[in-house]
């Protein structure tokens, strides 16, 4: 038996190892996704705090609503409360596991819903260090994976997985994701830009559990290593299964949303 294993190992070529790593990485992503399945819908408030290289800060306030979809990416609604001149502006996205997301924005000053037709989702969201693609649901199908091993992040045992975006319009060549081994929550993501240099790091802090199952971090901190700028997201007033439905996530709902 020992000799057989030895022979197997001897003949194992790098492609097999790659395939094994890909399989293991995918399994971890799937497990994390499985553990977050069934939340139905949730709402939360979000403060976005931008800091530039000089240390100057600027804050935006918004409210998020998310609706889980059985066979596709989540639906997402963001209501802008502050700054005042964009108050009432509402952003709606249908994220898709494959292909481009659908996006609309309601402009109260124009009283019109505008569809955003752009393959771009890697630009800064509201001038922050977050790109749209960093904020939307992390669908398993959007990446290829490679398991890298186990590491400790802030004293927590973690799985380290590299994921490669399938979307050619992504701003990244790869991301390294650390999941904690106990709950499969993402602790940290390192983003690598088109020339494969470390661009920014996102860390999640103060995880809270809702409905005894779903974990959400209260604080997300994104640091851009190339420009020295930072953005912090602070979430509060999380509520799950509030009874939202598809009708609350269509173009008409954008105008009504308050």
């Amino acid at each position: 038996m020992t000799s057989l294993l030895f022979t197997l190992l001897l003949f194992a070529n790098p492609i097999d190892i790659d395939a094994q790593a890909a399989q293991r990485g995918l399994e971890i992503a799937q497990e994390a996704d499985r553990r977050d399945t069934g939340f139905g819908d949730n709402v939360s408030k979000m403060d976005m705090i931008l800091t530039n290289r000089k240390g100057k800060q600027s804050t935006r306030h918004m409210r998020n609503r998310a609706l889980e979809q059985a066979d596709d990416g989540d639906k997402l609604l963001i209501l802008f409360d502050h700054p005042r001149d964009v108050k009432g502006t509402a952003f709606l996205a249908f994220t898709h596991r494959v292909g481009q997301d659908d996006q609309w924005l309601y402009l109260p000053a124009l009283k019109r819903v505008k569809r955003i037709s752009s393959s771009n989702k890697s630009g800064p969201f509201m001038g922050s260090e977050f790109a749209y693609e960093d904020l939307t649901s992390q669908e398993v199908e959007k990446y290829r994976y490679a398991y890298e091993g186990e590491e400790t992040v802030d004293g927590q045992a973690a799985f380290k997985v590299t994921r490669f975006p399938n979307d050619p319009d992504s701003g990244y060549t790869r991301q390294i994701v650390w999941y904690d081994q106990a709950e499969y929550r993402i602790l940290k993501i390192a983003y690598y830009d088109r020339k494969d240099s470390l661009l920014k790091t996102l860390t999640y802090h103060d995880y809270q559990q809702y409905l005894d199952k779903f974990w959400r971090a209260d604080r997300w901190l994104m640091v851009n290593h190339q420009t020295g700028k930072k953005t912090e997201l602070v979430f509060h007033a999380y509520a799950f299964q509030t009874g939202l439905g598809d009708r609350d996530f269509d173009q008409n709902s954008l105008k009504r949303a308050r």
Binding site: K56, S58, D85, L107, R112, I116, K195, Q226, T227
Partner: protein, 780 residues
């Protein structure tokens, strides 16, 4: 000889040097080599920012602006098809490929080109945001013509990334260098060059040029390295040749080269030990040190050879040479030191370095000349060939001036005033692009860019709004639009980047593409919401964070200017600030900044500081002369031959060139210390003849010509040669400095040989004239 018979301290010193020649040589060489091991730690500071003091207010303002938006370290690829326009399929494909490849340049955070320009279009209630050119090879001629129409009319692109004729286009790469060590840009520049070369091979129909701020820094880096690598060995070879011809002695030449080499090594070691970085202006210090060091050696060795020809043995000759030369060599080294140290008055840090490094070298050269040099000569075999001591040329010159003192002085005065009148033709100007020779690729690329595409000088403003989010206020947008309109109407302005152009385009898009809606949005809310919509549609690296601050309380406003002199630059900045004072609310009344702006103000600050430094150097040197010549009168007379060369040189410069950069402003200060040497030698011999030999003025002038005329000529020629080698530098600042100093030194020689003796003759005491002709005049 009127010297006392009892051995003075110099004689005792010289005897000791000969006795301990081996230890002196060994310890001297070991000491210098140990010091020189530091030189491996020498760094080159290639950052243009190194030209400014850290507390330069303009630089602080500019750093603040870069911290608010982003840094402006850029590489600009300029693509020009050999024939046809940039919208031909091949060229378009080249631009698209180059844009894509540019993302791979280390530290690149942004790539802007006309192909990835985020074109916005309205279709019903849909806002379409996409690259202007995608998959260029597959586009139809109609699609290409459509893209051409947009690119050549869009205010963001026209005159910035594309010329109206569409024959040249730019790909602008913004980089964020970590800023922790020197030479960080090298891998980025290497990669950019590699991309340009690869693309050039792949698309032979296009020419690709590289310019931008990072290429400027890199050109500084390469110019400094080039100067150190080529000028130094050349100078060494020239010194070897001149010494061999002059001394006709292998040992003398070897001894001189040793002193020169050790002086440079000691100075560079000391420089590295102090942590002073090399930069293009200071990279010529080693060449300068060699030139100055060789003069000390010439005086001492020529004297030794003279003594030996006169029949002395070598030891006696060395002792006598030191006795004769210790004081003048010390004095000339001291004045040279004072001249170079006065460069510390300059507001330009690399020029302070140049003064200090050269000062170390001059001090080291003096030390070496009175220790290692005599020790080495004492060790090496030295033979002399009998040779005529007479200088018939010098005698003839003396006769000529004595005979025609009046006309010589009159012509001299006329010439001096004539050229001095040309000094105002000079204009202070620091266009940093012109620091580089036209055969440097950076200069060629930049000249091409300026001629065909856009300017590379920029004035940047961060225009504050009244409050957070205030950039969306119609009043604010209107003001910046008018401001842009005003700048666009000014001469030399080729492009203005202003947010109001983007707002007008978005307003048009939001009104179904209606051309009549190409106006500023009517309300603050509209503008803010359009911006939000637009920002959500932009890809990585093409966002608005480089134009709008995080609070939306200020926008960046960039004026691109072509070929403006420092004066024109300052005028544009100041008239812009004046426009804001007259037409904008108080909170918007700011002043523009940017690298060329900082340079243009530094030119002014530097010229004042340098003038004060030069004045101080003149005063100190005149004081030194008064003390060492022990005569107030002759100290004052020395001012004339010391001042005249600089005045005439700048007059000549005003006639033939007229552009004075940082490097040239310090030429008077650095040349005074050298010019004065000739005066010192001439006047000290003249006074010795009068005081010790009791000669009259004419006799003393003949004596001075006879004894030092040849030595002065030779050392001055060597110095001129040294500064002419600096003219081979690719860095125009060094080239101009070499040229102007060489002219100054040549004029100094002429002044000392014509104007000074004529002046001394005209000023001779009346009573002497009557008694003078009776006395016979010895030749030497």
């Amino acid at each position: 000889m009127t010297e006392p018979a009892a051995p003075g301290w110099i004689t005792r010193y010289a005897t000791a040097v000969i006795r301990f020649r081996f230890p002196i040589l060994v310890f001297g060489v070991i000491g210098v080599v140990l010091l020189a091991t530091n030189a491996t730690a020498l760094v080159i500071n290639d950052d243009y920012r190194y030209f400014f003091n850290d507390d330069d207010p303009q630089l602080l303002a500019y750093n603040d602006l870069q911290d608010t938006y982003n840094k402006n370290d850029t590489i600009l690829f300029v693509v020009a098809p050999k024939q046809g326009g940039v919208f031909e399929p091949d060229t378009l494909a080249a631009i698209e490929a180059l844009t894509e490849a540019a993302w791979q340049i280390p530290f690149a955070t942004r790539v802007d080109s006309m192909t990835n320009y985020q074109h916005t279009e309205a279709e019903g209630d849909e806002l379409i945001v996409a690259d202007l050119v995608e998959d260029a090879a597959s586009l139809s001629s109609e699609q290409r013509a459509y893209a051409a129409g947009i690119a050549t009319t869009e205010p963001l692109l026209r005159h910035r990334l594309i010329n109206p004729a569409a024959t040249a286009t730019g790909i602008n790469v913004t980089l964020e260098l970590p800023g922790v060590k020197q030479g960080e840009q090298r891998p980025a520049v290497a990669r950019a060059r590699e991309i340009a070369a690869t693309m050039g091979d792949q698309f032979p129909g296009v020419d690709i040029h590289l310019t931008g701020i990072l290429m400027l820094n890199n050109a500084f880096d390469e110019a400094a390295m080039h100067d150190m690598a080529t000028l130094m060995p050349l100078m060494f070879a020239v010194i070897a040749l001149v010494m061999a011809l002059l001394l006709r002695s292998v040992s003398g030449t070897v001894a001189t080269l040793t002193v020169v080499g050790l002086s440079v090594m000691a100075a560079m070691g000391f420089t590295a030990w102090l942590g002073i970085p090399m930069s293009p202006p200071s990279s010529i210090a080693p060449t300068l040190i060699m030139t100055l060091a060789v003069a000390d050696s010439i005086h001492i060795i020529v004297s030794i050879l003279q003594q030996m020809r006169a029949g002395s043995d070598k030891q006696t000759a060395i002792i006598e040479s030191l006795r004769l030369n210790m004081q003048p060599v010390f004095l000339t080294s001291l004045t040279t030191l004072v001249g170079f140290l006065s460069l510390n008055a300059s507001a330009v840090v690399p020029l302070n370095d140049l003064g200090n490094i050269t000062s170390f070298g001059v001090a080291a050269a003096f030390l070496m000349s009175v220790t290692v040099l005599p020790a080495l000569v004492a060790i090496l075999p030295l033979r002399v060939t009998a040779r005529g001591e007479e200088s018939p040329l010098m005698d003839k010159l003396a006769d000529f001036i004595i005979a025609r003192r009046g006309p010589v002085l009159a012509v001299s005065v006329l010439v001096v005033f004539g050229f001095a009148a040309m000094i105002p033709n000079n204009e202070l100007n620091d266009e940093f692009v012109n620091y580089f020779d036209t055969d440097i690729p950076f200069r060629a690329a930049t000249d091409f860019t300026t001629e065909h595409l856009t300017g590379i000088y920029q004035i940047e403003f961060s225009l504050p709004a009244a409050e957070t989010g205030g950039i969306s206020e119609p009043d604010y947008l209107q003001t910046i639009e008018h401001f842009a309109g005003w700048y666009r109407a000014q001469a030399k302005v080729v492009h203005v980047d202003v947010l109001s152009d983007t707002m007008k385009r978005l307003n048009k898009n939001m009104h179904g593409g209606d051309a009549a809606a190409y106006t500023l949005p009517a309300s603050r809310e509209l503008s803010a919401q359009y911006l939000l919509l637009y920002e959500m549609s932009l890809p990585y690296g093409l966002d608005l964070n480089n134009r709008i601050d995080i609070d939306k309380a200020a926008t960046r406003f960039v004026v691109t200017v072509e070929n403006a002199s420092s004066q024109e630059m300052r005028d544009l900045v100041e008239s812009g600030a004046a426009w804001l004072r007259a037409n904008a609310p108080t909170h918007m009344q700011v002043t523009g900044s940017g690298i060329p702006v900082i340079f243009s103000y530094l030119t002014l600050a530097n010229s004042i500081a340098t003038f004060q430094g030069t004045l101080l150097a003149f005063l100190l040197i005149t004081l030194t002369l008064i003390i060492s010549l022990r005569s107030f009168k002759y100290g004052l007379i020395s001012l004339i031959p010391n001042l005249v060369p600089s005045m005439v040189a700048f007059g000549i410069w005003g006639l033939v060139d007229g552009q004075v950069n940082f490097g040239l402003t310090v030429v008077s200060a650095l040349s005074i210390g050298i010019v004065v040497d000739d005066t010192v030698h001439f006047l000290s011999k003249y006074l010795r003849a009068k005081r010790e030999k009791g000669l009259d003025t004419e006799g003393a002038i003949r004596y001075a010509f006879g004894t030092v005329g040849r030595a002065i000529t030779v050392t001055t020629l060597v110095l001129i040669l040294g500064f002419m080698i600096m003219m081979l530098s690719d860095f125009a600042m060094n080239e101009g400095m070499g040229k102007l100093t060489a002219i100054t030194l040549a004029l100094a020689l002429i002044t000392d040989f014509f104007m000074l003796p004529a002046l001394l003759l005209v000023l001779q005491p009346k009573n002497e004239k009557a008694s003078a002709p009776a006395r016979p005049v010895p030749a030497a």
